[in-house]
Symmetry: C2
Subunit: 381 residues, 2 copies
Amino acid sequence: MFKPLPVEVSGERFTAVYHLRGSQQEAYEAAREICLEQTVELPDGLVPPGDIREHIVGRIEAFASVGDGIYRADISYAVELSGFELPQLLNVVFGNTAMKANIRVVRLDLPDVLLRAFKGPRFGREGLRDLLGAPHRALLGTALKPVGFPAHELARFAHDFALGGVDVIKDDHGLANQPIADFYERTRRCAEAVAEANLQSGGRSIYVPNVSGPVASIFDRAMFAKEAGVGGIEVAPGLVSYDVMRQLAEDDRLSLPVFSHPALLGAYLISPGHGFSYFALHGQIARLAGADAVIYTNYGGRFPTTPQDCRDLAAGTLTPMSHFKTSFPMPGGGMSLDRAPEMVEFYDRGVILLISGGLFEAGPDLIDNARRFRELVEKMG
Amino acid sequence: MFKPLPVEVSGERFTAVYHLRGSQQEAYEAAREICLEQTVELPDGLVPPGDIREHIVGRIEAFASVGDGIYRADISYAVELSGFELPQLLNVVFGNTAMKANIRVVRLDLPDVLLRAFKGPRFGREGLRDLLGAPHRALLGTALKPVGFPAHELARFAHDFALGGVDVIKDDHGLANQPIADFYERTRRCAEAVAEANLQSGGRSIYVPNVSGPVASIFDRAMFAKEAGVGGIEVAPGLVSYDVMRQLAEDDRLSLPVFSHPALLGAYLISPGHGFSYFALHGQIARLAGADAVIYTNYGGRFPTTPQDCRDLAAGTLTPMSHFKTSFPMPGGGMSLDRAPEMVEFYDRGVILLISGGLFEAGPDLIDNARRFRELVEKMG
């Protein structure tokens, strides 16, 4: 049917590593299908011979059992297929295959020529530590809530948390641009409150508003926040896309740390046999999209994340990716103050502890609660 | 801890219907957790009494067994929580809860006051039928491929398909803006080729390029396509977000039919106990985001979609939603020409049949293949 046409490609390829479940034969067949599905989207018999088959169709570079009925397939693709654009890169890796069961993307191996198309995290772990004046210890984070409270009340919480020594005070992701505590008033008041507390304490706490919203407004909201003096922005790529997050992160006028929130992304992680690994999604892909810190649900909280998921994620925030900076894991989701020491140990201080409900719960005086949180962390060195 | 503060809300609420798996007690507990997780994100004991508990926390309006260890919970939320913005609406419905197992959003019940914030599909089924001059019969669709072929070759395919009577000729979703057949050249050539074929045949076929790409370029690409004479645009909300699709659909300068592609969305659908139902995601949410047609994988192809999923989806494209127009199901994913009659019958002509690999495979002459496809469909009335 198709003529064998020449295709100009550089020969440079990137690799996605998949875990496939089933018998060896099923897994190998699945790997072969991925090679076609993610590229030419044609049955094998229709693939034109020559360059298309040789360079455009995905290529199984390695295939092996990794135990427990799981097989690992390393599949490479011509870098040109990505168009050097993030949405299309994700599309090649998992676009249509996401509609098939028993396939999980566990890591990406991307060559320099592809990574150079992206800036990666602007601040990274070291940059955030510099901003916050905390070169070694674990960092403290919390979330303002509940939705429904007026802006001045949320700002009071922000003030008290900052005064007590919490480094990163972010919006709960449920705070968007509702008529109650709308984005602009909330951002202005909370940024002011944190600045005031810093002045009083000599600290360097930052307020991080949630800018997730309609794409036409999101850049305006972020610029408004910048001018209001915030220290970072929170973006939920599951709601507004990884590419919007990347664009915010790469914007030189904005130049603010980006905190990735996992809303709606759970579907990619919840089944160990499907989606993306924590390493690939919250580590590598979040960094491709410029996240300086990635918020997720810690093990032992009210979500089913396991310690192994968390280790996997933390490894993804550090794994070498060309010129990319590292990013910070920011685990939360039902953590209480008494979990702080264990978390610091688990993440070896390379962590922003996100304790919000637990920080409100710890006693009637929020400044005191924040101080206890800070002491617990400082004791760990 | 928290003061009981007054909250101004209208009293209007929207409802998300969840299916919860487990024992009755587990399911009811999960429903109660959703009410908190999706709103105040506080443990029950911390929720301030008064307006926050009464109006802001989600409310279980109904709870019942629907058999097979599945329970249905109808949970309502104050419309104000959505901020009348699509990302935040999806966030309230499933944001954090997506990180928990055994919970599926099966439908949304949205009051007029909320739906008025969105335009919905601009053309809908009737509008598309008008554009294509096909008031009654099933519509024919196909995809240009494979990636790697030059633009003039893809344009030749487009020409032949149009001449043979295929209504909607779209890019394969793997065609983005790669150096080979870049977006601009491909769009220009394919739009021209289809226009030429229409002139020859008196037909009204449309070319639908894939505009999915970096958010900073996507509106430019769409406007370029409009000026090149395309008849619609293909957008993958899993890659660029539902809100970007909505913005494209609602743009009066653009005013083009929008075809939603399911790349990366599979993770929300693949597990019957998690994510969104086909009704909610590809029916209701796609329409909230302005999709005039929704591409997905049909049952009996190379994807695990079931006939029940497809019926569910089709019902979602038609379900009344205030002023919203309906949308078209566009099933594909491994369909061959001989499946056409069965598909027309299954969807009762309310369908755009997406046959691409199968159309290339049907014989060496693409015009002939397209004519056979058209005849098969016309025979069904």
